[in-house]
Structures are given as structure tokens and as C-alpha cells.
């Protein structure tokens, strides 16, 4: 059960198509997998750089360009405070775009590739799954 890593990896890749491990690397060259990989990484890298990098830039600006950030906009609201509130909006926007991107671009492709592997469900370790329906006392709500 804890023979982790799976024993397959210790075997040299054999030509026999029955083993899962030989199908994994062949799927790797699949054009759809490559485009999926590119799409996931590009979005993640760009979004994370923009949001997290943008926040760190805002922190740096607040310390080193305090003149600009302390400019009042309306009443006691300064440019710095407004940008700080905007961070929350930016985060919300990025989360929304991320869920849309995953639903439209990543999930369908991943489902198709999973079918290619002959695994109908993205279930976790197969051994645990059949037990769950009997589970009565710790239901999800």
C-alpha cells in the first residue's frame, strides 16, 4: 500500500502496452497534453506575476515613493489607501478569471486526456473510494 513510489517506475519502460507507466510518457508527447500544459502554466505564471508582483510593487512604492502615495484623492482617502483597497478588487478579479479559464480551457481537455488513459474519474487513490458510500456519520454538507 505504501510502496511509494509505485513499483512501475522502477521497471524499465517495457513495450507491453498493458502497463500504465508506458502509457503515461506516450501521453506526454500528445499535442493536446502539451497545449494543456502550456495553457495552465502561461495563465498561472502571468496571473501570479501580475497579482503578487503587483502587490509587492505596491509595498515598495509605499515605502520608497511615499510622496506620490500620500497624495490625497478625496477627503482622507490617499492614493495609497485607494490602491490598497484596489488590491482586494484585483484579487477578486483574478480569482474569477482563473475559475473561468480552468472551466473553459483546462477541465475539458483534462477530462478528454483522462479518458485516453482509461480512467473515467479523477478519483483519488482507488482503494479508498468504494468505502465512502458506507460512511454515514461524517457527511458533507
Amino acid at each position: 500500500m505504501y510502496g511509494y513510489p509505485p513499483q512501475q517506475t522502477n521497471r524499465p519502460p517495457s513495450p507491453a502496452p498493458t502497463a500504465d507507466s508506458t502509457r503515461y510518457p506516450s501521453l506526454y508527447e500528445h499535442p493536446e497534453f502539451q497545449s494543456l500544459r502550456r495553457s495552465f502554466r502561461t495563465f498561472g505564471a502571468i496571473a501570479a506575476t501580475l497579482v503578487v508582483g503587483g502587490f509587492l510593487l505596491y509595498v515598495l512604492l509605499s515605502s520608497f515613493a511615499s510622496r506620490v502615495m500620500n497624495r490625497p484623492l478625496a477627503g482622507h482617502l490617499t492614493l495609497g489607501l485607494a490602491l490598497g483597497l484596489a488590491q482586494f478588487a484585483v484579487v477578486a478579479f483574478a480569482v474569477w478569471r482563473y475559475t473561468v479559464h480552468m472551466r473553459r480551457r483546462i477541465d475539458p481537455a483534462a477530462r478528454r486526456l483522462r479518458a485516453e488513459l482509461g480512467r473515467p474519474e479523477p478519483g483519488r487513490a482507488g482503494r479508498e473510494r468504494p468505502r465512502v458510500p458506507q460512511e454515514g456519520r461524517f457527511r458533507a454538507w
Binding site: 482617502l77 479523477p122 461524517f138
Partner: protein
């Protein structure tokens, strides 16, 4: 450190707090025992059988993440330093972006019980040394953070009864520590989840009520709140400008940036948060639960900002600083002045439950790492039975709790915040590079993993030892000696790049030929086809 002559609360609210806290503890302990794993199954103990819904898991993530340092410490920071404190709250929210965009789904797809399983899958040849290194880093991070929570409980008690005697201090740490160990050792993941969900609901409700009361006090006019805060801060409009706390010189500006860097990046590698990411069954549930958690954390942070500003506006900065120079009493003082004894009792009970929930999550994460990675895979080389591993996990929870209590009882004059920040810095500089590289970098090798794990850990600890936290300033642990050649209190700005650099260096110097394992891992991380 905290010299309280006038205590925050009166006798009524102290008794009310005690009753509330006791009833929450009793209810959650019973539920933890009822939902505790009945069979000797590690998947149930570590991950609660993965049958949690998105909302429940999102609440538990929020409960795991928002510590007493955030609730009391950061509102105090806002109350004392205004703008700089608000920046800190922003970082706390933005940190979740790293989790959602970079780590969450690939880790969930490729993960199993612990972070060590993910690294082992990626680097199968040398997976035992890597697991060992990872377990050492995990233990360091969780123990530091646990000690921070326990010290926080003493600090909280101080708000009520003044400087506690050695016996009261010991009693407080031992009682809190024992409850935490019971949650983690007997309840496992279901038990810890329950207390975290309860805590998250209480937290959201508590801060929402208080924020609404504060806003009503100013007739929902934010400008009036800002104006009153600036007026009562004693420093005028400078309160709403940057530089009140960190503005001194270039060193303190860099120090603050270093802290924000560690907060923004460290969250994604904190062991108890990572464990929560592994708990949902499917990717969809995980995504929804992280979005829930982000919404809740964002809400709590916004409300905490309002509470901090409100505390300055209503109580006044002088009064807060007089009770506790670090500002930890701000929110309690605010509750006392706007809601009387009942609200004070509610908020302080909330703070104690917060401590409990975070500490339970930490203890569980440390115990999983010890039992699964260290005992199951390194000591027994994967031959341990489930029952055996589970026994070790329960024992490990007790040992970790005991270690935390002992360390918390050492007469260190150290603050909750600096220990918690060190834990964030270590997570970001040791665990995060190994995690990010193994998820996204094709040429990452086991030697790179070992170098970044040990290197990042040693680098951040050494930098803190030779920093003003340990020596040379009146607030240091050893104020009378001076061996602080590193000027910053937060090592992140140096140690995080160092961790990534070491991981790269190790992989380039000692490359490996695990292309099959690497391709398999990448497919698994993206497509999510997991074999048993």
C-alpha cells in the same frame, strides 16, 4: 514584556469569557471524539477520508490560516501604525493568490497524504533522504508556529489578569497544549476540521458584528472613521500615510518588504495549509473551497482593518499603546468601549478558540509528517502497517505538543509575531522552492531538493540568529550582547532567493535521469489520473 497595570476587562467579562471558552471546548472535544477515526486507517486520520464539502473545507482552510497573530496582532498594528498595518493585512489576503494560481491544483492532483508523498513521486530514486529533509523542515516550521500560538495564549491571558505568575503561566500553556493534543491525537483530521470550522464561523461572525458596530458608530461614513482615527492617533494625517512604523531608514523599509515577501510566498508552503489542500476529493471541490477560503480571509482582513482604525478612532492610540506597546490589546479595548463586557468576552473567547484551532492544525500536520514520512518511509522503509503508522501518528502528536509546551515555557521574552514570521520565512525559503521546482521544473533533481531544503532552512535560521531579533537591541532575546551583523529582522529577502538558487544549483551540478518519473508526474499533476 507586557506591563499591564490596568487590565483590559472587568470581572464579569473575564467570567463570561471563561464560561464561553469552556463550553466551546467541551462541545468541540465531544464532537472530535465522536467523529474521531474508528478504524485504523491513515487516510481517515490524515485527510478525513476526503469526503468534505467545499464550504466546509473552505471554512476549515480559513480557520487553519487566520491565527491569533492576525486577529489581535494585525488589528493592533493597524491601530498603532495605521497605513503600514493595513499593508500587512493586504499581504495576508494576496498570499492566497500564490496558493490558488500556482500550487493548489497540481499539488492536489499529484499528492497523497503528505507533501513528502508528492516529492517522492517526483524524485523516486532518492525519495528517502528528501523525505527526511522535508520532515525536518516541516517540524521546524510547525514547532515554531505552535510555540508562537502557545505564547500568544499567555499574552492573551495577560490582557485580563495582568502579568501572570509563573504558575498561572505554566497552567495556561499546559491546559491549552493538552486540549490541542487531544484534538490532534484522538480526533485526527475530522476532529481538527471541526474545531477549525467552529472557529471560522465564530471568527467571521465576531469580526462582522464588531465591524458593523464600529461603522454604525460613524454612521457608515468611512471618511469620518478615517478622520477620527487620524485625529485620535496623536500624529494627525501621518497616521494614514506610510512610514509610521517602518519608515525610519532604508533598512526598516527593506525589513518590511522582506516581511511582506515571506508572508505572500510562505503561506503556500505552510505544512498545515498544504495538508488542507490535499483533503478534498476532487479538483472541483478543491477549487471551490480555496475560493471560499479566499473570500472569507479577504472579508476578515477588511473587517480587521476597520477594527484597527476603529480602535484608534474610539479608544485612542495612546491608550492602546499604554496597555500593550505591541498593540495586541487594541481589539479587546475596542470591544470593551463599544460593546461592554459581553462583546469583550465574545472577542476574547474567539481569540482563545483561534489559538486552539491553529495549534490543532499545526500539531496534526507535524504528526502526519513524522509518522508518514519519517517513521513509515524512512525508518520502516514503507513496511509499516496502517495501524502501526497511526499509533505513531497519535504518539507524535503528543510529543510535538509536549515539545511546543516546553519551548513555550522557556522564559523567552519573544513575541508571537516574530516567531510566526520566522516560520513563514522558513516555509518560503526551504519548502516552497522544492515544491515549486518539483511541480514545474523538468530538470529538478533530488540533490537540488536536498540542497534547497537544508540550505533554505539553515540560511533563514542563521540570518535570524545574527539579526536584531536575537541580540543588540533592548527588545532582543539577549539585549546585552551584540552579534547582530545582519540588519533586518526578517530574513526572507535574502533567504528566499537563496533557497531557490540552491535548488537550481544542486539540480545543475548533480542532474538526474528520471525522465520517465518526471513525465508521469507532470501528466498526473495536470490530468489528475491517480493510481491507487
Amino acid at each position: 514584556m507586557v506591563t499591564v497595570s490596568a487590565s483590559v476587562a472587568n470581572r464579569l467579562s473575564l467570567q463570561l469569557t471563561f464560561v464561553l471558552f469552556l463550553s466551546v471546548v467541551v462541545v468541540t472535544l465531544f464532537t472530535a471524539l465522536l467523529t474521531a477515526p474508528q478504524r485504523d486507517e491513515i487516510s481517515e486520520f490524515y485527510l478525513g477520508n476526503r469526503n468534505m464539502s467545499a464550504l466546509r473545507n473552505g471554512l476549515a482552510m480559513c480557520g487553519d490560516y487566520v491565527s491569533a497573530a492576525t486577529l489581535l496582532g494585525s488589528t493592533g498594528l493597524v491601530a498603532l501604525t495605521g497605513y503600514d498595518g493595513l499593508l500587512y493585512l493586504g499581504g495576508t489576503t494576496v498570499a492566497w493568490m500564490t496558493v490558488l494560481l500556482v500550487i493548489a491544483e497540481p499539488l492536489h492532483n499529484s499528492g497523497r497524504f503528505t507533501l513528502g508523498d508528492t516529492l517522492a513521486l517526483r524524485l523516486p530514486r532518492l525519495h528517502r533522504p528528501v523525505r527526511l529533509a522535508l520532515a525536518i523542515c516541516t517540524l521546524t516550521v510547525t514547532t515554531l508556529y505552535l510555540v508562537a500560538q502557545l505564547i500568544g495564549s499567555v499574552a492573551l491571558l495577560t490582557q485580563f489578569i495582568g502579568e501572570p505568575s509563573q504558575i498561572t503561566r505554566t497552567l495556561c500553556v499546559v491546559v491549552i497544549g493538552t486540549i490541542v493534543v487531544v484534538y490532534a491525537a484522538l480526533g485526527g483530521m475530522p476532529g481538527a476540521t471541526f474545531i477549525q470550522v467552529v472557529k471560522a464561523v465564530m471568527l467571521v461572525a465576531g469580526v462582522a458584528i464588531t465591524a458593523v458596530v464600529v461603522l454604525t458608530h460613524f454612521r457608515w461614513n468611512v471618511n469620518a472613521l478615517l478622520s477620527a482615527a487620524a485625529h485620535n492617533s496623536g500624529v494627525g494625517p501621518r497616521f494614514l500615510e506610510s512610514g509610521l512604523r517602518y519608515g525610519g531608514g532604508i533598512t526598516s523599509k527593506l525589513d518590511f518588504f522582506s516581511l511582506e515577501l515571506a508572508i505572500v510566498l510562505g503561506l503556500a508552503a505552510l505544512p498545515h495549509v498544504v495538508m488542507r489542500l490535499l483533503a478534498p476529493r476532487t479538483n472541483g471541490v478543491l477549487r471551490t473551497s480555496v475560493v471560499w477560503a479566499m473570500g472569507l480571509v479577504g472579508f476578515v482582513c477588511l473587517a480587521a482593518g476597520i477594527l484597527g482604525l476603529g480602535a484608534t478612532a474610539i479608544v485612542g492610540r495612546e491608550a492602546i499603546a499604554r496597555i500593550d506597546p505591541r498593540g495586541d490589546a487594541a481589539v479587546l479595548l475596542l470591544a470593551q468601549s463599544i460593546g461592554g463586557g459581553v462583546l469583550t468576552a465574545l472577542i476574547s473567547c474567539l481569540a482563545f478558540v483561534t489559538l486552539l484551532a491553529v495549534a490543532a492544525g499545526l500539531t496534526l500536520a507535524a504528526a502526519s509528517s513524522l509518522a508518514h514520512d519519517l517513521y513509515g518511509e524512512v525508518v520502516r522503509k514503507g513496511r509499516a502497517t496502517q495501524a502501526e503508522e497511526l499509533g505513531v501518528a497519535r504518539m507524535a502528536a503528543a510529543v510535538i505538543g509536549l515539545l511546543g509546551m516546553l519551548l513555550a515555557l522557556l522564559p523567552w521574552e519573544t513575541s508571537t509575531a516574530s516567531l510566526a514570521f520566522l516560520a513563514f520565512a522558513i516555509a518560503a525559503s526551504a519548502i516552497l522552492p522544492a515544491l515549486v521546482y518539483s511541480l514545474f521544473w523538468r530538470r529538478f533533481s533530488a540533490h537540488g531538493a536536498l540542497l534547497s531544503l537544508y540550505g533554505g532552512l539553515i540560511c533563514s535560521i542563521l540570518l535570524v540568529v545574527f539579526s536584531p531579533v536575537v541580540s543588540s537591541t533592548p527588545t532582543s532575546i539577549y539585549p546585552h550582547v551584540d552579534f547582530a551583523w545582519f540588519p533586518l529582522q526578517n530574513p526572507g529577502i535574502v533567504s528566499i532567493p537563496a533557497g531557490f538558487l540552491l535548488g537550481w544549483l544542486g539540480s545543475v551540478l548533480r542532474p538526474h535521469q528520471e525522465t520517465v518519473a518526471q513525465k508521469e508526474f507532470e501528466i498526473r499533476a495536470l490530468v489528475g489520473a491517480v493510481r491507487g
